[in-house]
Symmetry: C2
Subunit: 441 residues, 2 copies
């Protein structure tokens, strides 16, 4: 019986061309987040299952984690998200760390779900978190950084929308304006969360089911529909405009506008799935009609570090998955095709000289990426292999060349050839690399 | 009840300083292997369990894999090694790929074992493989590359030993000189594998147990002891010197000597744990008296791709773990302490100006890594935080500075200050970064 060659369902093999693309994404991300002072960390892919029970939504722990009992009897899970791990790490060194902490990571995460576009069982997710800042400057910085990320990938503001909301604003509205009890509030939050996916009539029916007869008699359903259909902060009732969460939202919007970030708006339907968000929340939506959905999200969650038995630490963070990012860039024609970084493919004539190793080692010591064809094939077949490896140049290193210390460098794009010393070969290849890097930009 | 803050047993948290060190290791590796034309790939951390049953030693599958049944009833394992995954990937695209294939990966691997120095449950392992070359040029290239890796990390030849052997040579000796049957050959291979860890007397007793009375009468135990204690190829019996594996070993040794790799020797005790090696094998030993053990190993394994129902592909590869590499570099004082790549820490006076975001964004657009202190603390406390973040410079951005468009840049190493425009600040910081990079080398 033969072994299967396909990867595990919902997970991807990364052949070199796929890996180069992923590296392009991750290196671009690393450059941007480093410019904001964020430092990279990592944690094990296995964590105690209880870490997720304590905070994630129940669906994730019960139906979607890859959990099992290890050989020592411990209940463990392959991480479905990074937030519990990073909270654990901050808690462990609560006293020694320098605040504000700015950390990021690009972990692979696992969730058992039905694979579909942009949703995989294994995906990588950029996690960016700031610990130790209570003011809304933290949320603002992460929103500016998110915007900078999309722009660095070549997106313009017509391609995506940043939407913000505030958990405390919602809480205030539910309690002080709608007079909802906790169960009602929870149901209404769920309903709002799916507002964009259902019809206005279904939304009205949903509201109708949640409110009590007394509440309806008091005109609260109409009031609710009015408020929940507000499209800007200024349309909200006056009594809301004095609370802190409202003012934080205003501040974020006006600072962003001052930075020429125009595609950011208040959206009362942004709820975020996780129960642990405690303040301002935000998401980014793809504006493309074929992919009009949330691509990333984040917000303030001040309570998590405290679950590890230390003083709580104010925290703002977001997660951005590689699969949704790739879809977005593809749809908007922003994905490059990074090439093999090979500078030269070395061809050996049928009677190879033992000194070929010295020659090529010398080339490498001069900073050149060089692969040798050991096949013993005819030169023209070796050239075919060079092209298949995406090499721009081939170098012939035979006994005659070694004896004369001059080597034939062939430009595989225009077939021109030159006879050069090894030092000259390295200089020509470095120059060619710079030209190609410019072309790629 | 509080959640635990320590990582899963035998696995490591990577705080930023740990991650920077790992990045230094991996980026150095990537540079070296790219110079030999190797391209990076990756595969999912979960694979069907049967992939490991087919080829790994039994101990690994039965006692050391993290295996479980997923929610769809599939038996899966967190990869304990990368070779089955890469063989699967090559088999899946057997026809389309360009040969020779030169691939590498630095996956994290999991094995359930008792954690000890250099042996962890989660570790990262460089895997380098060449597919499609039958000649010993493939083994030779991987040995040269391995040597280049250690030298690039700053090691010299006194610090490590490369040891080579050949499975076919051993097979020949066992069958044609010792006349062993398969069971005896297997036992003797196991005995040789632990030769370095036991006394010469125990080794002799072991041999005595394996050989039959007839074999002993024929003087084979003395012959075996003589051959198995050989320290160089030239000491082996003449009849061995005509076989191909002997000649391959000679060729590798002489080519290495020509490249001034002097610390390579034939060692008949190098067996390699996995059953699938089929030709030349090699390992690298630390020469340090406190750590005299194998740090990495590899060799030829031509049969693996064929297990996936396609034509076999000749393959040579090696694995090199991050924990053993780190131990080695530490022991020989070769580990650097990479610093936070932050260029400047931005201090805000108590009455922060809303335009601070624009100013710092401008700095970032000029390529500077800048973190803002949003704490509202006194300046001297913000400077303390800057030092804790390992910043070399602090920049004061208050309302007065913003109004004058000149900012105070303070060198935190010597306390000197200058008043500069943003463009001048960026130029000063880029220049300082280059000086620091030079110092670090």
């Amino acid at each position: 019986m033969n072994l299967p060659t396909q990867p595990y369902k919902g997970a991807r093999d990364f052949y070199p061309e796929d890996k180069r693309l992923q590296d392009y994404l991750f290196q671009t991300i690393r450059r941007v987040v480093a410019s904001y002072g964020y430092e990279e960390y990592n944690a094990p892919i296995l964590e105690p299952l209880e870490l997720y029970k304590a905070k994630s939504g129940n669906e994730i722990v019960n139906e979607q984690t890859y959990s099992f009992t290890d050989r020592g009897g411990r209940e463990v899970a392959i991480r479905p998200e990074m937030t519990p791990s990073v909270s654990r790490m901050v808690a462990a060194k609560r006293q020694q760390l320098a605040y504000p902490i700015r950390w990021f990571s690009i972990p692979n995460l696992w969730r058992y779900e039905r694979p579909q576009r942009g949703r995989l069982r294994e995906h990588w997710q950029l996690n960016v978190d700031m610990f130790g800042v209570t003011s809304v400057d933290a949320e603002l910085e992460l929103i500016i950084l998110t915007d900078r990320l999309y722009k660095t990938f070549g997106a313009d503001e017509s391609m995506y929308q940043i939407k913000i909301n505030h958990r405390q604003l919602i809480d205030y509205i539910f309690k002080e304006i709608f007079y909802l009890n906790e169960t009602q509030a929870h149901s209404l939050a769920k309903l709002i969360d799916k507002k964009a996916k259902i019809s206005q009539n279904d939304f009205i029916d949903g509201i109708d089911e949640i409110f009590t007869a007394d509440q309806k008699k008091a005109g609260l359903t109409e009031k609710a529909l009015g408020i929940l259909n507000c499209r800007s902060l200024s349309d909200l009732p006056e009594q809301i405009k004095n609370i802190e969460s409202f003012q934080q939202l205003c501040q974020v919007l006006s600072r962003c506008r001052e930075l020429s970030i125009a595609n950011i708006n208040f959206d009362i339907s942004i709820m975020r799935g996780f129960d642990y968000y405690s303040g301002l929340v935000f998401e980014v939506y793809d504006s493309h009609p074929d992919n009009n959905r949330s691509m990333m999200g984040g917000g303030r969650y001040d309570g998590l570090v405290g679950l590890f038995g230390v003083e709580p630490v104010p925290t703002v963070g977001f997660g951005l998955g590689d699969a949704t990012l790739t879809n977005f860039l593809q749809l908007h024609n922003l994905l490059p095709q990074p090439k093999n970084p090979l500078d030269v493919y070395v061809l050996l004539p049928e009677t190879a000289d033992r000194k070929v190793y010295q020659v090529v080692e010398q080339l490498r010591s001069l900073g050149i990426n060089a692969a040798i064809d050991f096949s013993g094939r005819k030169l023209k077949d070796q050239i075919k292999a060079a092209l298949k490896h995406q090499a721009n140049y081939a170098l012939i290193v035979g006994p005659k060349e070694i004896a004369n210390k001059r080597y034939t460098l062939r430009d595989l794009n225009n077939q021109s050839e030159s006879e050069l010393t090894i030092k000259e070969v390295s200089e020509a290849l470095v120059a060619a690399r710079q030209v190609n890097t410019k072309k790629a930009k």
